[in-house]
Amino acid sequence: MTASALLPVFALMTSLTAAIIIFTLPEQKHRLRTVVNLTAALLKLLLVGLMIWGVFQGREYGVSFTMVPGVDFVLRADALAMLFAGLSAALWLLTTVYAVGYLEGSPNRSRFFGFFSLCVASTMGIALAGNLFTFFLFYEMLTLSTYPLVVHRGTQQALRAGRTYIIYTLTGGAVLLLGISLLHSFAGDLPFRPGGHFAGIGPDLQAPLSIVFVILIAGLGVKAAIVPLHGWLPTAMVAPAPVSALLHAVAVVKAGAFGIVRVVFEIYGLETANALGLLSGLAAIAAFTIVYGSVRALSQSDLKRRLAFSTVSQVSYIILGLCLLGPVGVAGGLVHLVHQGVMKITLFFCAGNYAETLGIHRIDELDGAGRRMPATSVAFTLAAFGMIGTPPLAGFITKWTMGTGALATGMDWVIAVLVVSSLLNAAYFLPVLNRIWFREQKDPWTEERQWGRFETSAWLLWPPLVTAAFLVLAGVLASASFSPLGWVELIVAREVGP
């Protein structure tokens, strides 16, 4: 085994090993557990960094062996994989820091962090999966490892949410399995490959391929929370804030979206999918989801629920981007994978801070929070403006790129969607910001507590500040080669061609 084979395996193993160590640690060993967690997170970031550098140089990392006759287990680090892997490695570190602070003093931490690490391991596997089968393996592992996190609090509400979550995702997984086996039955084991496998297929395969496409998208769409398969996402809000952050920004919804990207790009190929007439339908659903999620978000009074519907809307940007066909539009969609992750995780970190420090859960309780927690509120504000698409923040880059891409391929109606969505984003974020900064505090905070020297615990404060800084940088430095946009352009060059 050479280093090139071992790197992806190690990247996977770091969080897997961390999970095993944490499970065997006694509950009281908080400090040791934190050390293990952070070491593993840093190590993983390092490994992913190494691989990103290698991939940039044009190297390939991969390992594969046969599991079941006819099916291989393939791990492969290509540019697209590194986009997702980099995102999750970076955000894992921050979320771990955040979660350590968030769960300070609460029970069952050993269980929580164990499954948390498993969850990240699965995400890493999803990123590095080299064929649909391996992808599916980690996709289901993700479902299983997130369930304990969703029901972590053990209340009736949490258990109900967990049930909804598991019903949706496992059914989605079953549908996906069906699609994969159908595909396998007439096309064999398909590794992910730029350009896909079905260029120039005969007419007899067109109908089955189209059906399989619909099944695959339906299976993946559950996790990507495409309307009408999004029902689990708002319900899962009862989970602790770091879990929500992880679910929304990195792991679950992104796994679905990432899967759709892989299927469209590297199984079917953009050209073929379009030729089969599949992308226009997907675009319509994505556009509808974007608008629908935003409209629903307007009427939510619970802060986390509003953010959840916002996620429903934002994730479909990625999918809409794919359907824009041209390289520019595709880049816009892909870069949103990162941008949305960074922005949404900031928002959830901040929402968690409000809840933990001041006991705020509902939007109408936020009055005056800006004075009490200025740093958190600044981060929240930046992320919200980013979502709306204000230059020069990350969200603007997404929308701008997608807009130009749409114009380039003559899909003008997408501009209308983008505009409407931005207006709606503004409509549900600005009132929140208004309350935070410009309203006087009405009632005393319900559960205020004083944590450390800052407005809240340092563990809770730094992660949102870092991500907020990142989202500003991603916008300002978008043209740099190592910005998310720069990396995405590299991917697009390799995937779609110039």
Binding site: F23, E27, F65, T66, M67, V68, P69, G70, V71, F73, P107, N108, S110, R111, F133, F136, L137, E140, M141, L144, Y147, P148, V151, H152, R153, G154, T155, Q156, A158, L159, G162, R163, I166, L170, T171, G173, A174, V175, L177, L178, S181, L182, H184, S185
Partner: protein, 489 residues
């Protein structure tokens, strides 16, 4: 070397049965553990021999079939011998810690355990129809004895019910054997297959095959003949339940599968194959649904066996009149399902036993909040559950995948519904247990942590069933080995 290995394989369990019969519980335990080591080593060595050199026939007493009894030592047989060694070793180790040494009747656990093991090996290796019958009876009676061991009225009722079903099944099988002997004058399965392929009358033999399949399906607890299984498996002590669910029901299924694979071409029919498949499908749904509704933990696991056994019967429609490649796929799927279910179910029963020790109750609801204590056994239970659900990378998934591929290749798409729906249903009952363990409302303050050594064993089994999917290829390549050319006589 091979001769000695075979002698060891046949001799050890029987000899150890006698030795442990003469000893008390504690000494029997020590003797048993020594025997387990020997038997596992012998099984491994034999497996390695067959993997390296291919299978062979072993004429007992030096008499060749049809006059004597010949054993068939091929890839599939040694795979199951090894599986049995693993699962029985785990159950035996676990039982040594789990059973109360001071209950005087527990000393009889060991001889029955060894006889059961001996019977299983007879069945895996058997190629003589009557010898298989004796093997079946060896298994059934020792299993019934184990269920009844030290039991109260409820356990006895389950044991009697089990015994009655087993006896009826054996008789149906024996009647089939009688008809076969009457028609072919031979008891060797391969001899009969040979005679059939050279054009003997077939209608009558078809009836005999149906009789035998009926009897074996009864012993395998195929729906709607499953009524005896949940009480027996649910009430036996956990190591016993593990043996029963993991191995015993597989014994009779294995004979049915062997019969079918040898004789389906001349004697099978579309209707019979589909009927068995459909009954298996109903079992998947019915068993899953019942498992979902059981209030007791071990009953959940027992009904899940009914469901999981259902999958095995998809072998029949998928091998009838299909191409060689598809039939091989279906056989591989069956093998993987047997192995993974054996490992996972043994892990589940053993960990369920530990959980019952911990919370002092058999009810699912009594598990409320136990995940608070991070019970190791709950984790093993969960991992085994993943295999039952058929999620990757477990052996259960690999099996399901192969079944899916075989169904698609033969165009029998209706099995897809069973495979996918059954997986979801098993997820439902497994998650019911998880869910209970996460409840935080109830404040249980007392929680008994069983000894680590009790908890390690199911974990190892669960990990094996989990990892099976990753190493399915090499396992299956051995299973496909038949007699090496020229060696078979």
């Amino acid at each position: 070397m091979t001769l000695l290995l075979m002698a060891g394989l046949l001799f050890t369990p029987l000899a150890w049965a006698v030795l442990t019969l003469l000893a008390g519980f504690r000494r029997g335990r020590g003797i048993t553990w020594l025997g387990i080591v020997i038997q596992v080593l012998v099984s491994l060595a034999l497996w390695a021999v067959v993997a390296g050199e291919g299978g062979f026939q072993y004429p007992l007493g030096g008499w060749q079939a049809p006059l004597g009894i010949e054993l068939r030592v091929d890839g599939l047989a040694v795979t199951f011998v090894l599986l049995t060694a693993l699962v029985a070793a785990a159950s035996g180790l676990h039982a040594g810690f789990y059973l109360d040494p001071d209950k005087q009747w527990h000393r009889y656990f060991w001889p029955l355990f060894w006889f059961l093991w001996a019977g299983l090996n007879v069945v895996w290796l058997g190629n003589d129809l009557f010898n298989l019958y004796v093997g079946l009876e060896l298994i059934s009676l020792s299993a019934v004895g184990l269920v009844a061991l030290g039991g109260q009225a409820e356990a006895l009722r389950a044991a009697i019910r089990y015994l009655m079903a087993a006896l009826l099944g054996s008789l149906a099988y024996l009647l089939g054997v009688a008809l076969f002997y009457g028609q072919f004058g031979s008891l060797s399965l391969s001899g009969i297959a040979f005679a059939l392929s050279h054009g003997s009358a077939q209608g009558a033999a078809g009836f005999a095959l149906i009789l035998m399949l009926f009897g074996l399906a009864l012993k395998t607890a195929l729906y709607p003949m499953h009524w005896w299984l949940p009480p027996a498996h649910g009430i036996a002590r956990s190591p016993v339940s593990a043996l029963l669910s993991a191995l015993v029901v597989k014994g009779s299924f294995y004979i049915a599968a062997r019969l079918w694979l040898e004789l389906e071409a001349p004697l099978g029919s579309l209707a019979l194959a589909q009927l068995l498949g459909i009954l298996g499908s109903i079992a998947v749904f019915w068993g899953g649904w019942q498992a979902l509704r059981q209030p007791k933990l071990k009953q959940v696991v027992a009904y899940s066996s009914v469901a999981q056994i259902g999958y095995l019967f998809l072998l029949f429609p998928l091998t009838w009149n299909t191409t060689e490649a598809v039939a091989l796929q279906a056989q591989q799927a069956m093998t993987l399902q047997v192995i993974s279910h054996a490992l996972a179910k043994a892990a589940m029963f053993l960990s369920a036993g530990n959980l019952i020790l911990s919370v002092g109750s058999n009810r699912v609801n009594a598990l409320a909040g136990v995940s608070h204590f991070l019970p190791f056994s709950l984790f093993s239970f969960g991992l085994a559950g993943v295999s039952l659900m058929g999620l990757p990378p477990t052996g259960g998934f690999a099996a399901k995948w192969l079944f899916l591929q075989a169904s698609l290749a033969t165009g029998q798409w209706w099995w897809l519904v069973v495979l996918v729906g059954g997986g979801l249903l098993s997820a439902a009952y497994v998650f019911r247990v998880y869910r209970a363990s996460f409840v935080e409302d109830s404040n249980i303050d007392h929680f008994f942590h069983p000894a680590r050594r009790l908890e390690i064993i199911p974990m190892v089994l669960a990990l094996l069933s989990l990892g099976l999917g990753l190493i399915a290829e090499p396992v299956l390549s051995v299973m496909a080995l038949v007699f090496a050319n020229g060696e078979g006589t």
